[in-house]
């Protein structure tokens, strides 16, 4: 059976996805409370896999919790913490638990997180995890062994950074992901129409749905920090100036305006948006309203 995400994308409906971060500790209830109010607005939630290399509750268990609460998860799986046995096993296990949307990523390096002495695995990468999913869907594992019970209806996706510099290697990898079976994409945060157009000119040819990544900018300082430190993020100076000129109390309003303006401009060149609210989930309703969604 198709997931809500798959069905909406196949019908050409504009989709909106968000994020649900598993807790560090066992307080899953609080993480669910944060996303539950958005139930009517967001079609599905990315469930991160030890995001930023910080140890948390697993993406699999948090995804199951979402399903129990009537929410649709996009189960993220990275190559950082597991080898090919564990990754394939986890994908099958997720399937058994009712998870169908799987987002395949390489993952941040372990040295960047809270266990910097941990062994980074990277036996596979985002491309080979997609190969693993495709192979499992066709009834065999990466070793060519036959499966007893085939997870034919996994809906697998991947990520891409339209603002990567240089862009061409990123586009080459994007094409590889399409080639090995990526059925949808979510992007790194984008902040300008020009950046999107440069990317989309190439990417639209793949004819795979792409969800524009939207990050809510909390301040000029945050934007400057991301420009300097976060790969693939390029916030134009004009937006930084606009935030700098805004009083703290009005910043959420301006932040939402900035994001909504971009969504309206790009809407005809993407198949949905993926919102990374970074704690500002309460502004998502206003954002969607102003974006005309």
């Amino acid at each position: 059976m198709a997931t809500k995400l798959q069905e909406a994308l196949s019908k050409g409906q504009f989709v909106v996805t968000g994020e649900a971060g598993p807790p560090k500790g066992v307080n899953v209830g609080r993480s669910l409370e944060e996303v539950e109010p958005l139930k009517e607005l967001l079609l599905a939630y990315n469930v991160t896999d030890n995001q930023a290399s910080v140890m948390r509750v697993s993406s699999l268990v948090m995804s199951v919790k979402l399903i129990e609460h009537g929410l649709e998860p996009i189960f993220q799986i990275t190559a950082r913490d597991r080898n090919r046995l564990a990754i394939q096993s986890e994908i099958l296990s997720a399937y058994v638990m009712g998870i169908r949307n799987v987002l395949c990523l390489t993952g941040d390096h372990s040295t960047l997180g809270d266990h910097p002495e941990a062994k980074p695995v990277f036996d596979l990468d985002s491309v080979s995890i997609l190969q693993a999913v495709q192979s499992l869907k066709e009834g065999t594992d990466l070793a060519g062994e036959k499966l007893d019970g085939v997870p034919t209806d996994i809906f697998q996706g991947a990520v891409v950074a339209p603002g990567a510099d240089p862009l061409e290697p990123q586009l080459i990898k994007f094409d590889k992901k399409v080639q090995v079976g990526a059925r949808f994409f979510q992007t790194q945060g984008v902040f300008s129409l020009e950046e999107w157009e440069r990317f989309y000119e190439h990417a639209h040819r793949a004819k795979v749905p792409i969800l524009l990544g939207i990050i809510l900018l909390k301040s000029g300082a945050m934007a400057r920090f991301m420009n300097k430190n976060v790969a693939g993020i390029n916030v134009p100076q004009a937006l930084i100036d606009r935030l700098d000129k805004t009083d703290k109390a009005d910043r959420p309003k301006v932040s939402v305006e900035i994001a909504a303006e971009l969504i309206r401009k790009i809407r005809s060149m993407c198949q949905g948006v993926h919102i990374m609210a970074l704690g500002w989930d309460k502004y998502i309703p206003a954002l969607l309203e102003q974006s005309g969604l």
Partner: protein
Amino acid sequence: MIVAERKPISKIVEMVAAYEKVLLVGCGTCVAVCLAGGEKEVQILAQELRLKARSDGRKQTFDEVTLTRQCDKEYLELIATRVKDYDALLSTACGAGVQFLAERYDSVRVLPALDTRFIGVALGAGEWQQRCIACADCVLDQTGGICPKTMCAKGLVNGPCGGTNHGKCEVNPETDCAWTLIYNRLKKLDRLDLMRGVAPLKRFKPSVHPARFHHMAYKRFDETD
């Protein structure tokens, strides 16, 4: 060559503190070139240890010898008559040399004075960089002569990750992104087609350790392996 770095003197002092008569055994090949464990470094280390023993009030002697290599049996033989006079051998070879020395002289304590870092090249005077992880499955023909398994912190074989940032690596902003280097090199060679193909899965079986290699010319006919 193999690049190594001397352990902090405090660690070495702690290791040798219990032994009265110590022979420092230098290695004249890789670790001599990278200024970690050759004849000169053995002299300096012995002198430091003598000063430290004196200031700490320990009665210790530190003698010196440097072998051409510690990874070949014939060189290890050259100290066979001397070893019995010592309580410990302090080797300034790489980890391989230390083990070979310990295997040859297994009735005496053998201690490592270095930390072995990597297989690498000299970037300039006194500066080395890793260039090979000895994966036993070389892909340099596919990547313009730049090793993605070594030069990419994640060892990725299918292109850059999302952490590539203006040609630098997410792990260390001073380190070049291997895949940006590979992309630039292949573009220069007009072989970007090599980057477009999906890479075969990495093979870890060839590098299962401890690895062993027996040259064909030296195998006996009745040996199957």
